[in-house]
């Protein structure tokens, strides 16, 4: 119920292309959906986040699309660059709080080919 399913596990995109990573959830009590970016040897860092009362949030080349009825959200990286190569984790915050208040997807390893 508090799982977040992320796909694909790995993704290769040509430079300049659009990278799309998808996540789906079941629990309607999730109320905040962040995406984290992790470079090799570093800890994950918050990239962008959205609340379920909006359908889209854009920050530069990064956009979250949110479909509340389908219980899905996705990260789009426009004009993908080699520097975007990283592992991306979607997450969801459970409104009930507690230790499991933030549930992570299993991650997508993104490679942008020059």
């Amino acid at each position: 119920q508090q799982q977040v399913k992320q796909s694909p596990q790995s993704l290769i995109v040509q430079k300049g292309g659009i990278s799309i990573i998808n996540c789906a959830y079941e629990n309607t009590a999730f109320d905040y959906f962040p995406w984290y970016q992790q470079f090799p040897g570093k800890g994950p860092a918050l990239l962008i986040a959205i609340r379920p009362d909006v359908s889209e949030k854009k920050e530069g080349r990064f956009t979250i699309s949110f479909n509340k009825s389908a219980k899905q959200f996705s990260l789009h990286i426009m004009d993908s660059q080699p520097g975007d190569s990283a592992t991306y984790f979607c997450a969801a915050r459970y409104s009930g709080g507690g230790a499991d208040g933030l549930t992570f997807g299993k991650g997508t390893h993104l490679i942008i080919q020059p």
């Binding site: 962040p34 800890g43 918050l46 507690g98």
Partner: protein, 117 residues
């Protein structure tokens, strides 16, 4: 620095030895998490501290793992009698909370890479 600090950054130990990993969270962050990340894998939740509440230890994989948080700040993760399968990167994260709820933005340290020979 203003970020989450973890030490050591790398630790190589022999099977059966005990290890301690330290996390110094961002000042004022009441929530603290430990995660484990095996090579190329996702984030495995281990333990959560929130203020003065009893920690949530539901993610600890065995009784060889324990953690404490002193004075609501620094945390130590201890692994006793290490096994080869304990080899991983151990990540610490801290967060502000509001009304007992994590804000959703976790600040991660760079991790402690543990190798058990």
């Amino acid at each position: 620095g203003a970020g989450v600090s973890q030490s050591p950054s790398n630790k190589v130990t022999e099977k059966g030895k005990d290890v301690e990993l330290r996390c110094d969270p961002i000042s004022g962050h009441t929530a603290l998490y430990w995660y484990r990340q095996s090579l190329g894998q996702g984030l495995e939740f281990l333990i959560y501290f929130q203020g003065n509440s009893a920690p949530d230890k539901s993610g600890l994989p065995s009784d060889r793992f324990s953690a404490e948080r002193t004075g609501g700040s620094v945390s130590t993760l201890t692994i006793q009698r290490t096994q080869q399968e304990d080899s991983a990167v151990y990540l610490c994260a801290s967060s502000r909370t509001s009304g007992g709820r994590v804000t959703g933005e976790l600040f991660f340290g760079e991790g402690s890479r543990l190798t058990v020979l």
